[in-house]
Symmetry: C2
Subunit: 520 residues, 2 copies
C-alpha cells in the first residue's frame, strides 16, 4: 500500500499546512450549507445522582464485576488476556479483582480528536463537547413517497448527503440505514466508501465481522495514510455488549481490530430494562457501568491508550406487550446517571438521541424524541448516535424526521451557548432608547441584532391561521418532505482527491471479487 499511503499522507499534510482558518471557510462553503462545528457547551452538565448515590452505584458495579463477572464468549485469546491481567477466569466467565477494570481504564484518554478528511470537520469527543451523529442501524426506511420499505444503498447515500448538509449534524455516522440490496458480506465496503465519498465529516467503521473492521481500517488508511491512522483516531466504532453481562465473539473481534489499530470503540451495553437488565434505573445503571468498564478495560488490554467511549443505550419495555418503549422517564434517569458515572471515570460518554416508538413522524415521535434529546444535551453526552432520523423504535430511518430532528439539534446547539452578557447582550441602550409603553421593533439595538438574534427554523410554521389555511394546511412533515427533496437536489459533493477515490474503488473491487455474495 506504499503509493496509497504516500498520497494519503501527502494530502493530509497539505491540508494541515493549509491552516485551520482556510479549511474552516472551505467547510462552511461545503455543499453551499452552513456548518456549526461540534458543540462546546458553556454550561455544566445536570446531575440527578448525588455523589453518594454515584458512589453506591460504583460499589455495586464493582461487586457485579467481582462476584458475578462478565462472559467473554468464544474468544480464547480474550480469556487468556484476562488471565494474564490477573482476572479469575472460569470457563468463559471472567471475574475481576476489585479495582482491576478501573485501573486498566486509567490509560484511556479522557478526550480525543476524531479526525475528518476535512480537518475543519474533525470533532472532539469528551470533555464539554457534544457531537451529534445520525441514526444507526435501521433495516427499513420511510421514503419520500411515504412508503415503508427495506433500505437500499441509494437511501444510505441519501442519508449521508443529508447529514453532510445539516448544519448541526457534526458526524456522518455509521449504518445510517442498512443497505439490504447489497450482499451482507460486501455491504460495509459500500457504506464506508459512501461516508468518504459523499461527506467530509467523520464517520464510523463496520463492526459486523472482524474482517470488515479490518477493511474499514484499510480504507481509512487509503484516505489518511498508515502512520496517521496508527497515531490518530479516524474511525469511531460501536461495540455493543450482549447484555446481560456478555461480550460475544463478533463484537470482541471487531473491538480487538479497532483498539489495536488505535481507533475508538464505543462500548455500549444495549439494554431494554426489564429484559436485559433489572427494571429499576439504579439496577440498569449498575449493570451498564459493570459491562462498560469490562469492555473499556479490555480495549486497554488490546492497546493501552486506545480511545474508548463509555456507551449506554437504555430503554424500557412495555410490561404488557414486551415491546420496547422510548421517551419515558426511567431511561432519562439512566441517561443522566450514566453520564455522571462516565465523568467520574474520566472517559467520554455516548448515549441519548432522538429515540421514539412511533410509526410515523407525528406528535408522539416528537414528544418522545425531545424527551430523550433534551436530557442528552443537559446530561452532557459527548457522542450522540441516533441524533436524527430514528423512527419506529429504530427499525426505520425516516427522511422527514431526519431533517425535523436536525432542526431541533440546531436549537439545542444554540441553547448550549448560553447567555451573551456582553454590553450588546445586556441591551441597556435599547431599554433606555425605547422606554415605557413603546416597542423595540425599530430601535437601533434591534436593527443591529435582528439578523442573528433568534434561531430561525426552516421547518416550523408561525404564520397566521388564515395564511396556513391558504397554504394548504401543511403539517411539519409535509414541509420536511419538501426540504429533503430540495436538499437532495441541491447537494454538491465535497471534493475528494481523484487518486484516493480510485484507490478506494480498487480496494473495494478487489475485496468484492475475492468472495461470493452472501445474503445472510
Amino acid at each position: 500500500m506504499g503509493d496509497e499511503t504516500e498520497q494519503g499522507s501527502g494530502r493530509r499534510r497539505g491540508r494541515r499546512a493549509g491552516g485551520g482558518a482556510e479549511a474552516r471557510r472551505d467547510a462552511r462553503r461545503g455543499g453551499g450549507m452552513e456548518s456549526y462545528g461540534f458543540i462546546q457547551r458553556s454550561m455544566k452538565p445536570f446531575e440527578v445522582l448525588t455523589d453518594e448515590g454515584a458512589e453506591l452505584i460504583e460499589t455495586n458495579a464493582d461487586l457485579v464485576l467481582e462476584e458475578i463477572g462478565i462472559e467473554f464468549r468464544e474468544d480464547e485469546e480474550a480469556l487468556q488476556m484476562w488471565r494474564d491481567a490477573g482476572a479469575d477466569v472460569q470457563g468463559e466467565r471472567v471475574r475481576f479483582p476489585k479495582g482491576l477494570c478501573r485501573d486498566l481504564i486509567r490509560t484511556a484518554p479522557s478526550q480525543f480528536t476524531q479526525h475528518a478528511r476535512n480537518p475543519a470537520r474533525s470533532v472532539e469527543i469528551g470533555g464539554n463537547n457534544t457531537v451529534f451523529a445520525p441514526v444507526y442501524g435501521p433495516p427499513f426506511v420511510r421514503d419520500l413517497d411515504g412508503e415503508r420499505r427495506y433500505a437500499t444503498i441509494e437511501d444510505f447515500r441519501n442519508f449521508v448527503k443529508l447529514a453532510y448538509m445539516a448544519p448541526a449534524m457534526h458526524h456522518s455516522g455509521g449504518t445510517v440505514c442498512e443497505p439490504v440490496d447489497v450482499p451482507v458480506n460486501k455491504r460495509h465496503l459500500d457504506m464506508v466508501y459512501s461516508h468518504i465519498k459523499y461527506s467530509d465529516k467523520p464517520f464510523m467503521g463496520s463492526v459486523t465481522h472482524p474482517e470488515r473492521a479490518a477493511d474499514s481500517v484499510a480504507m481509512a488508511k487509503i484516505v489518511f495514510g498508515d502512520d496517521f491512522v496508527d497515531n490518530n483516531c479516524v474511525l469511531i466504532n460501536l461495540i455493543n455488549a450482549n447484555s446481560p453481562m456478555v461480550f460475544d465473539e463478533t463484537m470482541l473481534g471487531a473491538l480487538k481490530v479497532y483498539a489495536r489499530a488505535g481507533q475508538a470503540t464505543v462500548i455500549s451495553p444495549f439494554i431494554l430494562s426489564g429484559a436485559m437488565a433489572p427494571v429499576t434505573p439504579a439496577g440498569v445503571l449498575t449493570q451498564t457501568l459493570a459491562e462498560a468498564m469490562a469492555g473499556m478495560a479490555f480495549a486497554q488490554l488490546c492497546r493501552p491508550g486506545a480511545p474508548v467511549v463509555f456507551g449506554s443505550f437504555a430503554s424500557s419495555i412495555s410490561m404488557q406487550s414486551g415491546a420496547p418503549t422510548f421517551g419515558t422517564p426511567e431511561p432519562a434517569l439512566v441517561l443522566y446517571g450514566a453520564a455522571h458515572l462516565a465523568r467520574r471515570l474520566g472517559v467520554p460518554f455516548r448515549s441519548g438521541g432522538g429515540l421514539c416508538g412511533s410509526k410515523t413522524p407525528d406528535a408522539q415521535a416528537a414528544y418522545e424524541t425531545m424527551a430523550t434529546l433534551n436530557p442528552t444535551l443537559m446530561a452532557g453526552v459527548n457522542f450522540v448516535l441516533h441524533a436524527a432520523g430514528w423512527l419506529e423504535g429504530g427499525l426505520v430511518s425516516s427522511y422527514e424526521k431526519f431533517v425535523m430532528d436536525c432542526d431541533q439539534l440546531a436549537m439545542l446547539q444554540r441553547f448550549s451557548q448560553g447567555y451573551d452578557l456582553s454590553e450588546n447582550g445586556q441591551a441597556l441602550s435599547a431599554m433606555r432608547e425605547v422606554g415605557p409603553g413603546s416597542h423595540y421593533l425599530g430601535c437601533q439595538h434591534t436593527q443591529d441584532n435582528f439578523q442573528t438574534a433568534f434561531y430561525r427554523s426552516p421547518l416550523t410554521d408561525n404564520n397566521s391561521y388564515e395564511q396556513w389555511l391558504a397554504e394548504g394546511e401543511k403539517r411539519i412533515e409535509d414541509r420536511a418532505n419538501e426540504m429533503v427533496r430540495k436538499w437532495l437536489s441541491d447537494y454538491q459533493a465535497p471534493p475528494l482527491d481523484e487518486a484516493i477515490d480510485a484507490q478506494l474503488q480498487d480496494f473495494i473491487r478487489q475485496k468484492k471479487e475475492s468472495m461470493p455474495d452472501a445474503f445472510t
Copy 2:
C-alpha cells in the same frame, strides 16, 4: 353573608378535622381517577447563569428601575402609594430609589399554600414544588370533530373536567378557554363557578376588571368562608405587565383587589422579545426582573405579606413576519435565568408551559411543547400555566393536545422523583439471580416490581408495525381524541355541598340581573 360564611367555615373545619389521610383517599377516588398531587422535586434546579451573571442582571434591573422607571397608568391611588413609599413620581412614571422594590418584596412569602376546596388537592407554590395548570386564555378551540371555532362555556366546562381528571394536572387553572358565548361582563361568574362546581382542584380568579376580581373573591368566600379567605390563599391571579415597563389600570385594579384580600398575584411581564423587550436574552431578563419587581413590590404596598409570584412569559418573534415563535432556544435561556433570579429574590416563580406555534397537534406542536416543558421542570418553575392544551400560539385550546400534554406532564413528574436507591432499587438480587446471558423477564425482582416499574403512557403506541397497520394506522391525536371522548363520558363531578352550590348560584343570578349584557 353570615349564613354562607358559617356553612363555608363549617364545611372547611369539618374537612380539616377529618384529617389528611381520609381526604387524600377521597381525592384519589375523585372521578375514579388517580391524582398525583403537586410535584416535590428531589433534584436541584439547573442554572444557566453563573452567580456573577445573575448579579449583573440584577444590577442592570436596578438601573432600569432607578433611571428609566415603570409607568403606573390611570391609577392615581397607585401613584400616591408610590410617593408615600419614597419613589420619585413624575406624571405616571415611577422611578425607584435603589433597593426600594427589593426591600418591599422582603415581606412576601417565599412559599405559600393555595387551598383547594378539597384539602387533599391544595398546592404548595414555591420552594422545590412544581404545580401544573392548564392553558390560559385562548378564544378558540379545536373541537373533537376537528373544527376550529370560538370557544363556549361548554368547552370551558369540558376543559375543567379534563383537568380534574388528569392525574398530573394539579390545578384547575383560570381561563382554560374564553367562553365567548357568555356576555363579557358576566363570563367570569360562570368561569369561577365552573371551576368550583366541576373540579375540586385549586383555581384562578378573574382579572379583566376590578369588580370581577371582587366577584371572584366573594365567590371564594362562599366556598371557604370569609375568615379563611382573609387569612389564606384560595385564589391565584394572573397580573400581566403591559411591557415594556407599564402596568395599566385594569391590571392594577385587579392586583389591588386580590392583594388586599390576601390572595396571590402572579406578576408576569408578557414579552415577545424584539417587540416588548430587547432581542437579547439578557435584555429580556433584565426588563422582566425590573417589571416583576415593581409589580410585586406594589402588591406588598397593598398588603404586606400578600403572596406574590414572579412571573415570566417570554417568547420571540419572527424577525421576518413579526409572528410570535415558540419552543426556540432563546426563550428557554430566559426561562432558566428568570427562575434563577426569582430564587435569588426569594419568591415563587411562574413560567413555561407547553407552548407551540403549530396550528395542529403535529410533530411541530410536540417538539415546541417539549422544548419549553422540559426546561420548565429543569429550571424549577413553581407554577406552570399553559402546561397542557395550548395550540397555535395560545389562540386555540386543543382537546387532543390537552391530554397529550398531560401524558408528558405525568412523565416529567415521574422523572422528578429521581432514583430509587433503596435495596429494591439497587436490584443486586436480580443481577445475582439472572447472571450473564439470561434475561430478567421472569426473575423474582421483575415480578415484584413490574406493575410500577415504568411509567405507562395511555396514549403512545409501541406495538409492532403490523399491529399498528391492523389497527388503522392511528396517529397519537386519533388516540387522544378517543381518550378525551371517554374521559368526558366517564366524568363524575366531585361532591359539592348543596347549600354552598345554591348560594353560589344565587350570587351569580343576582350579579347577572344587576347589569345588562355586554359583549365588548
